[in-house]
Subunit: 429 residues, 2 copies
């Protein structure tokens, strides 16, 4: 076990920063997520911790010297926990360092937030059995789940260059992609803007400590390699996907844009929200390289997830949007540790800053689906929104907002902030 | 058109360096491929050009100031061609700069060669219709080629972290990967070292100039974004692949190791070897975003390719290995320009140093197959080697050597060097 509950999780802890003590805020002193920011006068990204409605500059607070987030992510357990402890103590009510820390704060509304680190390789997984089953049914009604699903944590490589970061206002905005599509009854494909653009509700898992090539990470050590989690939207053009994906998987249907939230909530912060694995009785036991007593007892993480949709009309009317789905990360079939152990069983090397997508996190009930493909039955049953608009797939001007938070009796609420992105009209070719 | 034949291609050009004038050498003065090297006393990688049996240090020769290969790769046409011109003139017989250039030489046998650049994203394509057909037949005898093949340059993302560089002696050596496999008649999968380890004969295509996200690269501009080509071996564990690859494509069956050769032969050097596209009459015309007159006339590149296999027994006996397949890059169905145009049609951004794999370059005849999967009919008809050994798939100690070169009447032979890698025994789990 690499993380545990300690004094930094004490729900009685208060900060001298009043905004951090608001019970509804995402970033109380028990959270302390890491990100990169710059003020108008900064050339380079700086390492910050979100606290209340402020960003703490770790270098100005005298906590670290480096601007290099990837280097910070490589820290092993003891220095990593010491860093969390030092930030917690400095922000705590009555801290002797209050003055120094106060000088290192900037209001979050006045900084630019960057990608939280340099992302080397990005791998997307497929950990929700509910998503895999629902999507599988659309292609193979009698046999929705492929035979490998309960044995192999299915994953594939994604594109790192086009991952953007959520921002205030419209968030990460991107143009509707062009691509080849082919209607089932057409003789030939054609090229144009995607007409079946979708979001995918995911969590992003950031690797911290690397492993050398050739050296698999064992389940017992897997958590040591994970720095933390963020929200992740794996935008997908369903019409491009269905024409291109055989036989080698998704490509242009996804690599035009993905959006990650700016704050990495650390595995340390999430320690109070661990739960037993939810693998149903009767399913095959994981193979030994994917199994451990610790994983069975606390492999899952209870994170409430929400998808909000704000159309351009809603935005014009000052409407914050509709919550169109909720699910919980505890329902994933494969745990974070299992993803790390599987990814490295063949000796593949992970590097600091590598990103895993969890795959679309749909829950067991239909209204918990993490994509429009599922919520609208492949577009056949459009959603009716609160302002009487309907959506089969995303339209230009639509903003999708992912939110996530952990709540448990006896602990402070821990939030992930927002992952916000907006579909802009396709550029003329 | 971005490259053309100029004075640097003149077959009459000779160097004051005698080894560069040997007619059988890969690196004559007409080639001038780029790579990164360091001598025992160097901390950092330096940018070099291969010439004869030597490496020219571009900084010591006074040609550039930077150690940053990715920056060099971003050069636009004019400065890039000026750089080639300056190197050619300095190495030319009678050059006034001979003394300065001579001081910048180190024998290739005395340097370490690194990956030629920092590789951001790696994408693997599937450009040989002969490979796609032969492999497809093993799964779907009646319908080997999927309906999208002649329309979509099929590609998928690969893993950048585990790409290694060929080196002298054993080359890039890696351990046989462990993984999940399942025999068709087994009730459950098991975990162990791959028993169907294969190579794939590919070319690597290095991106030079980046494109901004959201801005597709048109066919007319595509070549401007390509820096050059190298040899590439996309090692594949066929037994892991067949169990894991549905529905999202290859993953652990490939990401344990890939090997690239150390020298990037530039598109400028390859200008004399361009040929018309080989798309057969009767096939659908490429969609407009994948078509141009220039591509039809000179989209293909005639590069002879060879696969050599040297077993441990051969090595012990001083035997250089058997040439087990030959093919030619001219037979690829999709051209380099088409891969760039397709990859970016959805706005995906390419960055300097990004690598495309061509996919396995099998030719039209069975003996031109670029993998053992094809040469041995899925392992059912093992190869008989010259020393009476047989191979269905690769065994521990086997070294695979890829070679490539261009030859045409009226031009000097241009070589790619070697891409050499050796399978080491699996590490006990």
């Amino acid at each position: 076990m690499n993380t545990s509950i300690d004094a930094t999780h004490d729900p009685a802890l208060k900060s001298w920063l009043e905004s951090a003590n608001d019970p509804s805020i995402d970033f109380p002193i028990q959270n302390l997520p890491f990100g990169r920011f710059r003020r108008a006068e900064d050339m380079d990204w700086r390492i910050g911790v979100a606290i209340g409605d402020q960003v703490l500059d770790l270098r100005r607070a005298g906590i670290i010297q480096s601007y290099d987030m990837n280097r910070l992510m490589r820290l092993s357990k003891e220095p990593r926990q010491a860093l969390r402890q030092a930030v917690s103590e400095g922000l705590r009510h009555g801290s002797p360092h209050e003055a120094r820390f106060r000088e290192a704060l900037t209001p979050m509304s006045r900084v630019e937030l960057g990608l939280p680190c340099v992302i080397g390789d990005y791998t997307d997984f497929y950990t929700s059995i509910h998503h895999a089953t629902t999507v599988g049914k659309q292609f193979r009604p009698d046999n929705p789940l492929l035979p490998n699903y309960k044995w192999v944590p299915i994953g594939y490589h994604g594109r790192a260059s086009s991952i953007g970061v959520s921002a205030p206002a419209l968030g990460h905005s991107f143009q509707r992609p062009h691509g080849q599509t082919k209607a089932p009854d057409a003789d030939a494909p054609s090229v144009g803007p995607s007409r079946r653009l979708d979001y995918e509700l995911e969590l992003g898992i950031f690797i911290g400590r690397p492993n050398p090539i050739g050296e698999p990470v064992r389940m017992a050590d897997a958590e040591e390699h994970v720095f933390g989690l963020a929200l992740f939207n794996d935008w997908t053009a369903r019409d491009i996907q269905s024409w291109e994906y055989q036989p080698l998987g998704p490509f242009l249907s996804k690599n035009f844009a993905s959006t990650v939230s700016p704050w990495i909530v650390t595995m340390d912060a999430l320690a109070p929200f661990r739960e037993p694995c939810t693998r149903p009785r009767g399913d095959p036991a994981p193979l030994p390289y994917l199994d451990s007593a610790d994983n069975r007892e606390r492999g899952a993480i209870a994170i409430e997830l929400e998808v909000w949709l704000q159309t351009a009309n809603m935005r014009a009317a000052g409407h914050a949007g509709d919550c169109i789905a909720r699910s919980n990360y505890r329902d994933a079939y494969w745990t974070v540790d299992q993803l790390v152990a599987h990814h490295t069983i063949n000796g593949c090397n992970l590097r600091d800053g590598d990103l895993f997508g969890s795959g679309t996190l749909s829950g067991p009930r239909p209204e918990q689906a993490g994509s429009l493909l599922e919520l609208t039955q492949g577009g056949r049953q459009p959603l009716r929104l609160s302002n009487a608009e309907t959506r089969a797939f995303l339209e230009d001007g639509d903003t999708v907002i992912l939110r996530g938070f952990c709540e448990r009796d006896g602990y402070r609420r821990i939030g992930f902030g927002e992952c916000r992105g907006t579909v802009m009209p396709a550029r003329p070719l």
